[in-house]
């Protein structure tokens, strides 16, 4: 029992101090460097993402400086063609995959729980695991330099250039494995953030009162859920093709290199908005603070964010206007590219209206917001220009595109990011930025950026190609001089970034001590001491307004005194409050994991898997993967609430008890929601596979090719009966457990597992009967991948069934704590549903066409 809860009569200040003491004991990271490796707290992990992202920004920036030196004048020899291609590839890859996405996820991971009144994100260990995957993925990618095998096919890794025939070395393998490894962080982060925002908001923070930043992050996270799987699938297929000779992108045996482009840009264009929307969230958060009034058009901004999220998925072919697609199809994408300007403009108008009707202050963060306006609007305008097909054809593959994309990405992401760093610096460090130094940083970066990239519009229009290590002097003296100016200015930009890092470092160490809410902001993260304690809030506050710190003058005092839900750490366990989806009413007590080695160990096993794989040692890779599965098993087995009671008191101190279920007993547990969101990721990946199937069907002259027809219905028919029977058995297991019948649902679980094993056997027999090797044709390769996908899901379902069976037997699952059964049933039914599509693709469709 904690010291605080035994002393309820103590004066409020002493009580709050005792609560803080208890909370710090439970929530602080383990001491020392070794202890830091076990940290899972969202504050620590979020900051690690941000710092690592900025480190990769500097590395990617250095690569860019070499490229600028090479392009300063025609026919330079600073870099040869091979090295230039490597630097160009890693510059783009670093900036997109290792800087832009992770740094914004880091911001979100650090801020979201604090903004919505939670003590941590719902899956702390998953956040830590994502960070290690990101770090190791980035290091894995850069380790390619040590082996003289840095990828050189561009950050877009187009086939056939990246295929085994034209890139026989390990370069593309480093890219495909390293980037996919790092992408795990994006996917795990998105699941963590979605469930955090939907299920752990402070009581009273109904959906119409969520901070705008939370809306931006929510939509961004959903975009990752649907946008990243196409690239993950494309990368997996390309790696399988390179390593095992399957056929997906090779024309000779029924594949198509354009399939890669589709899968890449199905990810690649939403990606632009995935990195822009959180940055716009920073803008929407900062403008009301410095305009000193609530945002104008909250509802309109929310619908604009959602609209942008949707429309951004209809733009991907505008990166492929020059590949020979029928004009009508191009026009669909051209129209969507222009339509997305509507919701984007709604946001810009709302920002201008807020500034117009407020009393703006030009503080350090605001300077970067104004810089963002100038640069991003220019990037947006050239974006509308290249959305027009005829104009795009003219500037395709020229430096005009380089100028456009840097105006969008640096304007849209980097300037808001720097604004955010200055704005939240007092929150993280407890110290204020220096106004004079930050002004110099701003002008260095603003002038350096514009003088670097504005000339590229002209050099592009004059015909200078991009993605090439040099250019012809025949393009004219103007192109040469403009390039020289561009290179000179890039040094100003680079000095600006170095100055930025120095400024932040100096402010962090020696800046003026910040007051708790130095900008007079309205959002909850400023309601805590700075720098923030590991537990964020002594008690979870109740919220009744969109701008809680402005609307309720007493809220800060209440927060400091520990007035609110779940005060202290009464049970010596990390806890936060779960609330309902729309109304934000208290619903459950979510018990969270503390510091743990498991995330790091799991990520290390994956490093071994990838290292063995890239070396071609497939058996050791398989053994290492068994280690991954074992680590994951241990991880899930030790979820924080295994032995806790089914109900806990979450009410404020001195108030009537508010008994709420723990997450294991809640119908809406984070575990169940996490599975729902994961299945959306999985379904998006499967949808991409279905797209690939139909795309290659359209491209192939005969489908199936001669000698590849499946002849028997016996195995698939038997298989589907077994699969449906398994689903029925799982349903029965859930019901028997809920009714507390003897043995719970264990016998039905065993039956379901038996039926699923039978289904797996029918799939193997089906492939034996088919008889063709996967390397023989794209049709065969797809058949193996579709059946392999199904088989993998069946195996996972079997492992899950064994897991729940054991938990049930140990008494960790019962009629009250049903979560595990519900989660496994969800996955099981999904596996069945997917095969209902799979069987149509594999067995029915080829017989019809």
């Amino acid at each position: 029992m904690s010291s605080a809860t035994t002393n309820a009569a103590a004066p409020a200040k002493e009580l709050a101090t005792a609560l803080r003491h208890d909370l710090a004991r439970v929530w602080d990271n383990e001491p020392g460097w070794i202890g830091q490796l076990t940290a899972v707290n969202h504050t620590t992990i979020g900051l690690r993402f941000v710092f690592t992202g900025i480190a990769f920004l500097l590395i990617g920036g250095m690569l860019a400086m070499f490229m600028r030196l090479q392009l300063a004048w025609s026919d330079q020899t600073v870099l040869d063609a091979a090295l230039y291609n490597q630097f160009m590839t890693l510059h783009g890859t670093t900036m997109m995959f290792l800087f832009a996405v992770p740094v914004m996820e880091g911001f979100a991971l650090y801020l979201i729980p604090k903004m919505i009144g939670a003590r941590d994100a719902p899956y702390p260990r998953m956040g830590a695991f994502g960070y290690w995957c990101y770090l190791f993925g980035g290091v894995f990618l850069y380790s390619s330099f040590l082996f003289g095998a840095a990828p050189d096919g561009g950050w877009f890794m187009y086939t056939p250039l990246s295929g085994a025939e034209y890139s026989p070395g390990l370069g593309p393998d480093f890219w495909l494995l390293g980037v996919t490894f790092a992408e795990i962080a994006a996917v795990t982060g998105s699941i963590d953030l979605i469930v955090a925002i939907l299920k752990t908001r402070a009581p009273g923070m109904a959906i119409q009162r969520m901070p705008l930043f939370a809306w931006y992050v929510l939509i961004t996270a959903f975009m990752i859920v649907f946008g990243f799987p196409p690239l993950i699938l494309g990368s997996v297929l390309l790696e399988i093709e390179r390593a095992f000779g399957f056929v997906f992108y090779s024309v000779a045996l029924g594949g198509s290199p354009l399939l890669w482009q589709h899968l890449f840009w199905l990810f690649g264009h939403p990606e632009v908005y995935i990195i822009f929307l959180p940055a716009a969230g920073v803008v929407s958060t900062l403008i009301p603070v410095f305009a000193r009034r609530p945002i104008v058009g909250y509802t309109w901004i929310v619908l604009a964010i959602i609209g942008t999220g949707f429309l951004s998925f209809g733009l991907w072919v505008h990166h492929m206007f020059a590949i020979g697609i029928p004009l009508l199809a191009l026009s669909f994408f051209s129209a969507a590219s222009m339509a997305v300007a509507i919701p984007m403009s709604v946001q810009v108008f709302a920002w201008i209206a807020t500034l117009w009707s407020g009393k703006p202050q030009l503080r350090p963060p605001m300077r970067f917001i104004l810089g963002f306006f100038f640069i991003f609007v220019l990037g947006g305008l050239t974006g509308v220009m290249v959305a027009l097909v005829p104009f795009d054809w003219q500037v395709h593959d020229t430096h005009f595109i380089v100028a456009h994309l840097h105006y969008v990405v640096i304007g849209g992401l980097l300037f808001p990011l720097m604004a955010g760093v200055y704005y939240w610096l007092p929150h993280v460090s407890g110290r204020m930025p220096n106004d004079g130094f930050s002004r110099m940083v701003f002008w260095l970066i603003f002038i350096g950026f514009n003088l670097t990239f504005l000339p590229m519009h002209l050099t592009g229009l004059l015909g200078m190609p991009r993605r090439a290590y040099t250019y012809s002097a025949d393009l004219g003296a103007a192109v040469q001089w403009l390039n020289l100016a561009s290179t000179a200015a890039s040094f100003v930009l680079a000095v600006g970034f170095v100055a930025f890092c120095i400024d932040v470092f100096l402010a962090w160490r020696h800046g003026r001590t910040a007051t708790p809410n130095p900008w007079n902001a309205a959002t909850l993260e400023w309601g805590m001491p700075v720098p923030p304690p590991s537990y964020n809030f002594i008690a979870i506050p109740a919220v009744a307004d969109r701008d809680p710190l402005w609307a309720n003058a007493g809220l800060r005092r209440d927060l400091e005194a520990g007035v609110g839900f779940l005060p202290g750490a009464a049970r010596d366990v990390r806890e936060t409050l779960g609330t309902t989806l729309r109304a934000g009413k208290p619903e459950q007590v979510i018990q969270l994991s503390g510091s743990s080695w498991i995330p790091l160990l799991t990520a290390i096993t994956l490093v071994f898997v990838l290292a063995f794989f890239i070396a071609g040692w497939y058996w050791p890779a398989g053994i290492a993967f068994v280690g991954t599965v074992a680590a994951l098993w241990r991880w899930i087995w030790t979820t924080g609430d295994g032995d806790s009671p089914a109900q806990l008191d979450a009410g404020p101190l001195g108030a009537q008890p508010l008994l709420l279920p723990t997450q294991a007993a809640s119908a809406d547990s984070p575990g169940w929601w996490g599975m729902v969101i994961y299945l959306l990721v999985d379904a998006s990946l499967y949808g991409s596979l279905v797209f690939a199937y139909f795309y290659l069907w359209l491209a192939a002259p005969a489908w199936p090719p001669p000698g590849h027809a499946l002849t028997t219905w016996a195995w698939p028919a038997f298989g589907i009966v077994l699969l449906l029977g398994g689903s029925a058995a799982i349903g029965r297991a859930v019901r028997r457990n809920a009714r507390a019948l003897p043995g719970g649902g264990r016998s039905a679980l065993a039956v379901a597992a038996l039926l699923m094993s039978g289904f797996l056997a029918t799939q193997v027999l089906n492939l034996v009967e088919y008889g063709q090797p996967p390397q023989s044709h794209a049709y065969a390769s797809l058949l193996y991948v579709l059946i392999g996908y199904q088989g993998l899901h069946a195996l996972i379902a079997l492992v899950m069934a064994a897991f729940v069976w054991l938990r049930s037997r140990r008494g960790m699952v019962d009629a009250v704590r049903q979560r595990d059964y519900r989660v496994v049933a969800l996955f099981w039914h999904y596996t069945t549903a997917v095969w209902l599509i799979g069987i149509l693709l594999v067995h029915l469709f080829p017989r019809l066409v």
Binding site: A206, T299, W300, L303, P326, L327, F332, I342, R582
Partner: protein, 125 residues
């Protein structure tokens, strides 16, 4: 008919979901139709492929219009019922307006995308 429901998050985005489905359908129809030579088959008012594309557009616009109406009704209902159950109505009003305007945006996106169907040969490269 209470579907789609403006008080549910999926209902709020239903207009955009219809737009996304329409987008997939017209893009897939163009690919499959051109491959199968549907553009050369005649139908009332032009080629079969163009007709199918226009039909799918009409269906999408009707569904989006219905979503917009449901959103509008939710928004107005929230407004009219102000005073009783303020919290619930405030939320209903918010979600109804978001659903209504999102559906309008979906409608604009559909019309903008569909205009070239009547202007271009669907398979001209």
């Amino acid at each position: 008919m209470a579907f789609p429901n403006y008080q549910r998050l999926v209902g709020v985005i239903s207009g955009m979901i219809v737009w996304a489905m329409w987008f997939v359908v017209v893009y897939a129809l163009t690919g499959i139709g051109c491959n199968a030579g549907w553009n050369e088959r005649t139908a009332p008012g032009g080629g079969l492929l163009s007709l199918l594309l226009l039909l799918s557009t009409v269906v999408a616009l009707v569904l989006i219009g219905w979503c917009a109406w449901r959103g509008y009704a939710g928004w107005r209902q929230g407004e009219d019922a102000r005073g009783s159950g303020r919290e619930v109505h405030q939320r209903g009003r918010f979600m109804g307006l978001v659903m209504f305007v999102l559906s309008l945006l979906a409608g604009i996106g559909t019309v903008m995308g569909a205009i070239p169907i009547v202007m271009l040969d669907p398979c001209a490269a």
